[in-house]
């Protein structure tokens, strides 16, 4: 057995990078037992925490980049350890001190964020291209409500319909809203989870400035990742806004009796809980109640739902990284949906949609299973 001494400088670095939570851990291993990676291969968060506690981390290890921040471990941890914070701290140190250990695709995304404010190498000025034919006004003093589409629908052509559908719904339901366009940047959620706090702060501050400039009070979002960041991280940087996810907006309308579905959607639909909507923010009932009220729609639950929902694999900057075949959580979810006999896999997160679309394609099931954002279904029946 090797003899090692606690490495105090490393402990201090992790602490300073925000990973101090390792102190609380009593090594019960529940994080490891809960982590979805263990469906496909061995990954032991409790060991990572222990390594951090003694400063005995191997910065070059691939493992540090696996975590999709799905929050399963955090939501169950009996000692309240934010395991993802510790991992984020080590990622932060790695970015600075062992750049060669950082996945290449992640470096590309960070580069794109730095240059054009989005991770998908899109041109900044194209950000509002999706809205060209929709005549959406720029957000201003009269509107005060911003629709923030998220970079993924804005720049990925196969995702654009989500933003368009959402905008149509907002219009149809009489929302007084606008968009910002080129001055808008990525919310920064994923790059923060990747450990690059510097880029995150830059993006966040530029957004906050842009929002303030336009007099934004309320933000309607498509992505739970944007939702989480605006809600939990922006206030500390001076950005206090009323943040509303589309499902919350719709469910509020429904409560007021203002949401009427005119057409039926006679299909078997399975709803997937996005981690950042569910476990991170506790929003479980709103999307279900919306879907349940659509005429003809048969709503089914996944094998693991709500607090126990399986991550698609796209959080924690994993959306930018390559995941090997056989290790993709989204493949499992698509297979489970097919087993249930679902015709449509619906969710409320662009990352989930991106991953599911990929999975359906690579599994050759695009004729059998339709992947939709909840906005797209509502847009069809409203």
């Amino acid at each position: 057995v090797e003899t090692v001494a606690p490495f105090k400088e490393a402990i201090e670095m992790i602490r300073e990078a925000g990973g101090e939570m390792f102190r609380k851990c009593f090594q019960c291993g529940l994080c490891t037992a809960s982590c979805p990676w263990n469906n496909v291969k061995t990954f032991m968060p409790h060991k990572k925490i222990t390594e951090s506690k003694f400063g005995l981390v191997e910065l070059g290890e691939e493992d540090w980049w696996l975590c999709s921040t799905c929050n399963m471990c955090v939501s169950r941890c009996p000692r309240g350890v934010a395991i993802t914070d510790v991992i984020r701290a080590v990622r932060n140190i790695t970015l600075d001190s062992v750049p060669r250990a950082v996945p290449a695709s992640l470096k590309n995304a960070i580069g794109s964020l730095k240059i054009s404010g989005n991770p998908w190498s899109g041109a900044r000025e194209d950000r509002a291209n999706w809205a060209r034919d929709l005549a959406i006004p720029p957000v201003g003093a009269e509107t005060q409500t911003l629709y923030f589409s998220c970079c993924t629908p804005a720049f990925d052509p196969k995702m654009g319909n989500i933003a368009r559908a959402t905008a149509r719904i907002l219009k149809e339901t009489g929302a007084n809203f606008g968009i910002i366009g080129a001055k808008e940047s990525c919310c920064g959620e994923s790059v923060r989870k990747a450990g690059n706090f510097e880029v995150f702060e830059k993006l966040a501050k530029s957004n906050i400035d842009a929002f303030h400039e336009s007099g934004v009070k309320e933000i309607v979002v498509t992505s739970p990742h944007c939702y989480s960041t605006f809600k939990s991280e922006y206030p500390a940087l001076g950005g206090e806004f009323n943040v509303v996810h589309l499902v919350q907006y719709l469910s509020r309308l429904a409560d007021e009796g203002k949401l009427n579905f005119k057409k039926p959607f006679p299909k078997k639909v399975v709803y997937h809980d996005p981690c950042y909507l569910g476990r991170h923010n506790g929003i479980y009932d709103e999307p279900r109640s919306i879907l349940k009220n659509i005429p003809g729609l048969t709503l089914m639950d996944e094998m693991n739902t709500r607090e126990n929902s399986l991550c698609c694999g796209g959080g924690g900057a994993r959306i930018w990284m390559e995941t090997k075949k056989g290790e993709r959580f989204s493949d499992t979810l698509v297979e489970q949906a097919l087993e249930l006999g679902a015709e449509v896999l619906v969710t409320a997160c662009p990352y989930c949609i991106l991953n599911f679309k990929d999975s359906v394609l690579t599994l050759g099931k695009e004729d059998v299973l339709d992947v939709r954002d909840i906005s797209e279904i509502v847009d069809e029946v409203i």
Binding site: V1, E2, T3, V4, A5, P6, R23, K24, C25, F26, Q27, C28, G29, L30, T32, A33, S34, N38, T42, M44, H46, K47, T50, E51, K53, F54, L56, S75, R76, C77, P78, R79, G80, M303, N304, R306, E307, N308
Partner: protein, 1025 residues
Amino acid sequence: MSNEISVSEIPVSQGKIGAVMVVGAGVGGIQAALDAAAAGFKVYLVDKGPAIGGKMAQLDKTFPTNDCSMCILSPKFIECASNPNISIITNTHVESLEGKAGNFQVHLYEEPRYVDEEKCTGCGTCAEYCPIYVPDVYNESLAKKKCIHVHFPQAVPAVSMVDAAHCLFLQRKICQICVPTCKSKAIDFKMQPKRTTVEVGSVILAPGYEIFDAYSQSQYGYHRFSNVVTSLEFERIISASGPNGGEILRPSDNRTPHKIAWIQCVGSRDETSNCTYCSAVCCMYATKQVILSKEHHPEIEAVVLHNDIRAYGKGFERFYERAKNMPGVRYQWAKTSIVGEDPDSKNIILRYRTDDSKVKDEQFDLVVLSVGLNSTEGNRELAEKLSIGLNEHGFCESPAFSPMETSRDGIYSCGVFHAPMDIPDAVTMASGAASLASQLLCEERGTLMEEKVYPEERDTTGEAPRVGIFVCDCGTNIAKVVDVPQVVEYAKGLPGVSHSVEETFACSVDAVNHMAETIRKQGLNRVVVAACTPRTHEPVFQAALREAGLNPFLFQFANIREQCSFVHMNEKEVATEKAKDLIRMATSKAVLLQPLHRAIYNVTPEALVIGGGIAGMTSSLALANQGIKVHLIEKTDSLGGLSKRIPVTLEGADVQNMVKKLVDEVYASDLIEISTNAQLVEYSGYVGNFISGIRVGNGEALKEIKHGITIVAAGAEELKPNEYLYGEDDRVITLLELDERIEKDSSQVKECDSAVFIQCVGSRNDERQYCSRVCCSHSVKNALQLKKLKPEMDVYVLYRDMRTYGFKEDYYKEASDQGVVFIRYQPEDPPDIHAVKEKGKSFLRLTATEPILGQRLEIDADLVCLATASVAPTGNKPLSQMLKVPLNEDGFFLEAHMKLRPVDFSTDGIFMCGTAHSPKFIDESIAQAQAAASKALAVLTRTSIEGQAAVAEVNEELCSGCRVCEMACPYDAVKKDEEKRVSVVNQALCKGCGTCVAACPSGAMKGKHFTMDQILAEIRAAFAA
């Protein structure tokens, strides 16, 4: 002026009232009620449920002795029910309370039972006719029972009740089938809720707990998978009186599970469930369930998935070791997640990390959730109504060093209402709470008491034997093995037998009353009960004889359970034949039984307390407060004991201040005579009349003390180890030494940059197979102090299991938050320590294997603190020999019963408290000291006590005065009368063990109740089949 006083002018009773209300009738409430009644107070025992017994009545067996829970509890039911000074009030809760300590008016609200308690016999006929099935709450809804039913077979009061929520008549005004079936006309649907007001001097709160709601956390799959059950459900599944008659069957398919997993800490030590505290009992009950499962089916594979195993109580560590070493049992240190259910087998798949750094998926037939103990909504309401403070976890708050006190004078608490705890701790606190109530109401003692009056004894001289035989099914404990109806028939044909009958539970209140009635009606003059054991149940049946006007010694037990159905479980025919043999033997003896009478003795109302630590002083004061003269002897030159070395508690309370106050109070009391440098050197006598010889200092002359009871509070000591360089290097110290160092000169401690605590030094090893209970918390306390003195100090704790049970868990967590690093080590791979000099620096280098990393960690420390064992003083052995009371294998005093008699010895009149019993915290010692005082007081306030009746007797004609009997007697009860030159038996000391009878070469000794002809008759009957 008119002589009349208008009603409004009648004052509520002025002054104190000699009555106590106990709220909650679980085992704690029952014990508090019995103690308060024994102390001379009228008791109202109130419970919101339909019967007394609480959660303990639902348990199968109890750890660490595996005694049957109901078997040890039901005698207490009978004691309560038959005590004329205890009013049992069920289906009732406290609505409000007024008044002050000594004089409370308690307003009660009683839900209607729809059955008249006075009229109902609990015969169960109504239930046979009732058409509606409801979930059986007693069986955790694993079975169904009729809407009108008796809560459980041994229930007290043994009367039916109507489940109003499901009754067809109460809900829909149809049915009422049950009403005409009741011969006693007891069913009354017109019953209304009843409000009453009771005046009492004091209130003892024992409302208990509820188990953690496993539904609330979806991760356990309790709502989704049928083969996931709670531990309380498992108690019912495994219980002989449960829905499967004691067969372990899993819910999905009623098949015996081959592989069972226990998941520990469900709703305990868990921030996500808002229960950060440790529930203190789950590790042990799971261990018990493992052992019981293995006993049911030795081939069962049992896996306990756990965090720290908290086997901290007396006898727990051995129990845990026993379970761990059983074949097919695994204890796996890991919390687990439920991956899912196999759709075909309905097996549950669990995922957990293994010790060799792997992640494993494993299937189990059944998963048991070891759910924690929670406060209840009802408890919160009760506390609010009574203006009682609760802590952040919803448990009763008490001032430092007064565990049974609440935030309101005159209202006391005990059991799990105070904190999660196991049965003996709850029973101890219950007696302690009764002691406080007794002190408060001292002057009113006896003012509201009623004597239990039995009818005059019938003279049976000259009557031909008329034996009544009662054969008990013990639910299914006996009946599922022995063919009881066949045995009953057989007994009818035995000589002298005039009545023979089967009973489902012979010990139920209803059955006992019925027995008395049968004795009277049939003119029986001998009774044989074929049931369990005389150890627990003889007094119950003897009371029935007395009730019927028969001398209680005209009774004979045939143990057809322990000696028959339990040991011949798989040989039903043989067992039935053996039951017949046992009953035939008992009957042959019964016909020869003679009435016996107990001798009456006076009581010397004084106490001897041995040991002047916190426990001894607390007991002394409790007695002196009630006018009892106390002789307190202390072997050292001052009072205070070990506590003099403890500056503060983990919770931050000032120990020295408390001890000083206690010492001052003891010295200030006129009734306490203190002897320091004193030792007990001579001891004789019996309960009520002991004589002790005390040597003070080196004096030759002995001081003679006459006293009625003795309390042993001889304390414990901190082990001085001979490992880890202790005694060789002064940087290695014990916990108490660190306490002193921090207290006296913290600057020296502040110079340290790194400190290491090593746990379990001298505990939990082959030499001392017990956990010292306090050291984990003690180390946490000191670690927090070091962090406070110097936040940048590196503090490490090398431990095996952190046993910070109950609310002490919060401090363990606090220490982690403060950066104290906890490293688990294995006993077979203990830490290593070397003194090292390097680069001009001198330090201690420790290495220990870190189990997660799988590497040996090297830590350099300036201070090493050893958490050494609490050990029994060497003086315990001679003391135990002098008092003729037993020690356990670890040298601590051994109580009469691990679960229900935690402060009593088997010898009457001698009690124990504090660390003399086992290592424990100050609060626990204080509770036990009060409990011992309560037991002592029950003896000392009596004017006289009854001795044994079945004693030895000398036939002076035959006795040659050879003294063989005197040497043989283990109780010092036989002495030779030098004048008459024959032996004389001291009837007060004689326990009737019969050793002298066997030893006497002349046949001069006779054992009453076990005479030669009685025994020979039994032997003859044994071979007469």
